[in-house]
């Protein structure tokens, strides 16, 4: 049975580290599929103008296309070039919730993410997506530093 690993990318260098670790794990496992996932951060409880609402569907499509073209597809292509089985997924929503939802749906054995190097007051105050993921995930999580 194929083992599935979900790799969360954020479009930054930290995502590359997660990808590299997932790639090593997949080689060790052998029969493994990597689900490269990018979550566009979005809340259904933010306030928007009528004009933004009118354009929302269009923007969602654009955001999905951009994430696929700039982050997900190059990562999938790189993994495939290494001889690994991989495919990409883009979702909108809360990063930790959406990653857990994708992993549960896929029946993944593990979620692999990288700790973002950026810190700052806001992240200390509100908590980061990574720590939220670790705290609430029902699937084992590996955080690459």
């Amino acid at each position: 049975m194929t083992t599935k690993l979900v790799v969360g990318l954020d479009g930054h260098a930290s995502g590359e580290r997660a990808l590299a670790h997932a790639s090593r794990l997949a080689e060790l496992i052998g029969d493994c599929e990597l689900v490269v996932t990018y979550i566009v951060e979005w809340s259904p409880f933010s306030f928007q103008t009528a004009e933004e609402n009118e354009q929302r569907h269009k923007r969602r499509e654009e955001e999905t296309t951009t994430a696929l073209e700039r982050v997900v597809n190059p990562a999938v292509a790189k993994l495939k070039a290494e001889g690994l089985k991989a495919r990409g997924v883009v979702r909108h929503g809360d990063v930790s919730d959406a990653l857990i939802a994708v992993s549960t749906k896929e029946g993944a054995e593990q979620i692999i993410v990288a700790r973002a190097s950026e810190g700052g007051f806001a992240k200390r105050f509100f908590g980061s997506s990574t720590s939220n993921l670790v705290m609430s995930s029902t699937v084992p999580v590996t955080v690459v530093s």
Binding site: S46, T49, Q55, H92
Partner: protein, 516 residues
């Protein structure tokens, strides 16, 4: 001032020789005011014409009857599906796979930013100032009935919206009039859509624009001292111009985020004042109920209280008007009826909660002068409204009521008023623009023309005095309701079909809540 008196004044303004008016009109404000009253008088008189032999405006009856019929036709939908509406807003029924679209919450808050505004602060003060606390009772009743009107129009707005190939959506009464009538094989849908669009543009320029600028100026002048209204108008016009024409969305985004907090702050302050005077809460509700059925000692008596209550409720929550349906149309849902359920919360939040808070604060604060011997309200010299401490009216009355309990609150209120006015103007510029593009087609020149006209009217609104502006605002918005409710009577069976289907599937368990 009753409508007969207003009509007389308007007629006198029309008949007065231009030279005499010019002599009297010393300042620019007065000149704008006089010209405005002359230009809009006949339209205002037509919309607010009373039933022959009575002082009851036919338009108020039109709204009340419409809301009552929708309430009965849909079997008190506003109460039966209230809990379900809350669940929908919380996202309990939102498919996680649909995430990333416009949520019910966003559609609701967007529409609320257009309706929660000066009507809740200034409009209620006008109603209570003329009709006494009893007007509050009729306002609440109109709010509860209006929930059914909003349910009907917003369901249709989503069902018949336009979805363009690029993924954008446009909707509103003009679309459901045209498509809905065509679906039923009825003639005249296209004509109604055009008439509605014309009134929507006038409503956007009146209530959605001039009234806001006017009351924002009144509040600022109340804080910093009197100065010409056109100065406020020019500043507001410049900022609105920057947002709607210049594409500086950051200003609108900031406002959209700050306004809900101002709303919470406003309701919070109201609660503090009400709780500080907890011993008067019983008496305040007593005067609301007593005034609702007797109307003793208020201008216009019982009918005056009733008219003022219904008028202010309609102006504040816009149920039956069709404006908010334009904002709700953008929601992403597979079931149009769900947005109907969500939208029915709007009159409740706007009128039943926020307007009642304002009315209670004014009643409790003692700003309305009562004759200690008779216990009845004292009318002002003209006999047109209840005399108030400091002779205030409109937003100044609300400000004085808050200031009597929390001395610094008028400053917060001034900020709230400016932000409410600004967000309402941005929302209504969108509603007006949708109607404009429906009539004249989409395109940069067409859109820019409307936006410039909109900004010019901000200056006019801030410069004109309260009377003509408030009358024109009411008239234009009520004119939208005339066409909209007429169309809703024909289309409501389509909504009932949706309602029965959805209610059946909800009961059978076919429609499930998603676990979060």
């Amino acid at each position: 001032m009753n409508y007969a008196q207003k009509a007389l004044i308007a007629a006198a303004a029309i008949a007065a020789p231009a030279s005499a008016m010019a002599q009297e009109a010393g300042s620019l404000d007065q000149k704008v005011n006089a010209a405005f009253a002359t230009a809009t008088g006949p339209f205002v008189n037509l919309i607010f014409a009373p039933f022959p032999g009575t002082s009851f405006p036919w338009i108020v009856m039109w709204l009340v009857v419409g809301a009552s019929i929708f309430t009965l036709y849909f079997g008190f939908v506003q109460f039966r599906f209230f809990g379900h509406a809350i669940k929908l807003v919380k996202g309990d029924y939102s498919d996680p796979n649909d995430a990333g679209e416009v949520s019910h919450f966003q559609a609701l808050t967007t529409a609320l930013s257009g309706t929660v505004g000066l009507g809740n602060i200034a409009g209620v003060a006008v109603a209570v100032g003329i009709g006494g606390p009893g007007a509050t009772f009729w306002m609440i009743l109109a709010g509860l009935l209006g929930m059914a009107s909003k349910f009907t129009e917003c369901t249709l707005a989503v069902k018949y919206r336009n979805e363009y190939p690029d993924g954008t959506v446009s909707g509103g009464p003009m679309y459901y009039m045209k498509k809905g009538f065509a679906e039923l094989g009825l003639p005249g849908g296209g004509f109604l859509a055009i008439v509605f669009s014309v009134f929507c543009i006038l409503g956007a320029l009146g209530g959605g624009n001039m009234f806001q600028a006017n009351q924002a100026h009144a509040q600022i002048a109340g804080i910093v001292g009197d100065y010409p209204g056109w100065i406020t108008g020019v500043v507001f016009a410049a900022v609105v111009f920057a947002v709607i024409v210049g594409g500086i969305k950051s200003i609108a985004q900031v406002t959209e985020k700050v306004v809900p907090f101002m709303g919470i702050l406003y309701v919070g302050a109201s609660l503090v004042i009400i709780l500080m005077n907890y011993d008067q809460i019983g008496a305040a509700f007593g005067s609301i109920f007593a005034g609702a059925f007797t109307g003793l000692g208020v201008a216009g008596g019982l009918v005056g209280a009733l008219i003022q209550g219904f008028k202010r409720a309609a102006f504040s929550n816009e149920a039956g008007v069709g404006s908010a349906a334009i904002a709700h149309a953008a929601v992403r849902t597979k079931e149009p009826i769900t947005e109907g359920f969500v939208s029915l919360l709007e009159p409740l939040i706007d009128t039943v909660v926020i307007c009642t808070m304002t009315a209670l604060v004014i009643t409790i604060s003692g700003q309305l002068i009562v004759n200690p011997e008779t216990g009845l309200f004292v009318l002002n010299e003209a006999g047109t409204a209840i005399a108030t401490v400091g002779d205030t009216s409109g937003v100044a009355l609300t400000s004085a009521a808050f200031g009597s309990a929390i001395s610094w609150f008028p400053y917060v209120l001034a900020v709230a008023v400016v932000l409410f006015a600004f967000s309402t103007m941005i929302s209504w510029s969108y509603y007006g623009l949708k109607a404009w593009t429906y009539l004249f087609g989409e395109g940069k020149t067409s859109e820019l023309t409307f936006k410039i006209i909109f900004c010019v009217f901000i200056v006019i609104g801030a410069a004109a005095s309260l009377g003509p502006v408030i009358d024109f605002s009411d008239a234009a918005i009520f004119a939208m309701a005339v066409v909209n409710i007429f169309a809703l009577y024909f289309l409501m069976k389509l909504v009932r079909r949706e309602l029965n289907s959805y209610a059946g599937r909800l009961k059978s368990g076919e429609i499930k809540a998603y676990a979060h």
